[in-house]
Symmetry: C2
Subunit: 302 residues, 2 copies
């Protein structure tokens, strides 16, 4: 049972090493995390980009590039294309963004010919370790889907549930977050909760149990739920917080990271293979945890 | 300088005692907090409602009702009307909700004849003490205004700024929260940030400095702001988080209370006098802090 980031890393280390390909790899903090993940036995990296620039980045970091596979593609767009093709062809297991705009790598990843598309939309999911919560918590989507309608919310749930399956939670409890616990026609989040629960009961959303609408307190604290008369069995014990829109998810993620001493691992889900797309504001640890999570997801998808 | 809840209570205790009127006062947790606030010298309570029921509540709590002024009005709607009139006529300074639906007391508070209306809409504001933030933080609106447009956001800011003035912060830094730092036409929160800043610069929103759009991290953490290239001077040091919609505010408030060991005081602002409207889920301390905050706001408005 994975209870924290340390368990997650151990579980990833126990698996066969995965091939991770970095698109436009001359990025200092990304390379740092990649070197760490390689040293910890999680991945074998393939670095795509301007090889001279990549070597210079190693030098800046005071690290040796001797053991690293590199593919020399100077143009960023072509480097992304090359990296994506390595993953979609099965020669690598994980795609990671380097020193290139998110839009450029996602365009390559979503290419209809050589990309990593599935029938689901891409979504961003974070596994968060919060000192005051009793287990890991997946939260989605605080970074990609701005104002998802109920169909997109279904895909965000399906993408997140696969990640939870990958880390060993076989029937995760998915709490649909709103500002209130009662369905209110003026609040779309509560109507969507109702609809998503029906889809789950009709087996149109599988592999999880969906409950809500929950105020955040009822989703993560049993006493608060009892106070409010919320009787759902999963109250206080959810594995997955589905957020109503990008701002709530983003505020929650950043609240946890900056005000609650949390740790997190994030991946882009909904593609054929996991995509690691860290932000400059993420710590080195977050980047490393994200690679470990991607290893587990890649193994699960294999 | 008020840095935490203890300072806030001390400042409230130093003021002349305020008259607080409870509408439908036979509410156990509300009476508990009212008794505590009376014992601490913050308020003189006036209890409106079914006097027999109020006395029974005192008995349940093992407390004496000897020193308490009571007005016998058995019907809840009439009790709310009586309570509101006491405040609007100047015989009392603070209105507090007891054992009655929020909608009933707000209807009385908003009555055009005898109510507490101003030209601004009502909004809910919380002052939060967060162990990992260096000062008190006002957050609004996580409880009343569902999806405020930019005009309503202006009123939410004005209402919150008055509260900050009341606790001694003369020119608060107001951070407009969004999911990203750059204006993006697909994200209304970022467009509203731009407009609110212009209104502030044109002196249409006074008594504060407005900045944004901020990701939450940049608003409350200087290093995170520097990482993302956010140069606004107030980055990492805001006094006021304006949330884009009710869900983000609600999620932030509950994140802090349940996962970040925070303390909070909340009032309804935008009325002629402060209204204390606590929820059953609030702790006894939160209710007490809210009364202390209302005392400061009432003094400021006097």
């Amino acid at each position: 049972m994975i209870k924290n980031m340390q368990d997650l890393i151990k579980k990833a280390q126990a698996l066969p090493t995965k091939k991770l390909v970095v698109a436009v790899a001359n990025d200092h903090p990304v390379l740092e995390a990649v070197i760490m993940a390689k040293n910890e036995g999680l991945i074998t990296p393939i670095l795509v980009g301007d090889v001279q620039k990549i070597k210079d980045t190693f030098k800046d970091l005071g690290e040796s590039y001797r053991d690293f596979d590199m593919i020399d593609v100077k143009d960023s767009i072509l480097a992304c294309e090359t990296a994506v093709k390595l993953v979609s062809s099965g020669q690598a297991d994980i795609l990671m963004k380097g020193f290139v705009d998110t839009s450029v790598i996602l365009r390559a990843a979503l290419d209809r010919e050589y990309g990593l598309r599935t029938q689901n939309r891409l979504s961003h999911a974070s596994i968060i370790e919060i000192p005051l919560y009793h287990k890991l918590l997946l939260m989605s989507d605080g970074a990609m889907n701005i104002e998802p309608d109920v169909d997109i919310k279904q895909e965000i749930i399906e993408n997140g549930v696969e990640i939870l399956h990958a880390i060993g939670i076989s029937n995760p409890k998915v709490g649909i977050v709103a500002a209130v616990e009662k369905v209110n026609p003026k609040m779309q989040a509560t109507l969507d909760a109702q609809e998503l629960i029906i889809r789950n009961q009709n087996d149109n959303i599988k592999g999880c149990t969906i409950g809500g609408p929950f105020g955040l307190d009822n989703a993560i604290n049993k006493e608060a739920a009892i106070h409010k008369g919320v009787t759902d069995e999963m109250a206080g014990d959810v594995d997955f917080l589905l957020m109503p829109q990008i701002e709530s998810g983003n505020v929650f993620y950043k609240s946890m990271m900056f005000l609650a001493n949390a740790k997190s691992a994030s991946v882009i889900a909904g593609a054929k293979k996991p995509i690691v797309l860290t932000s400059r504001a993420d710590s080195k640890d977050s980047k490393f945890y994200s690679i470990a999570l991607a290893v587990l997801v890649a193994e699960f998808k294999a």
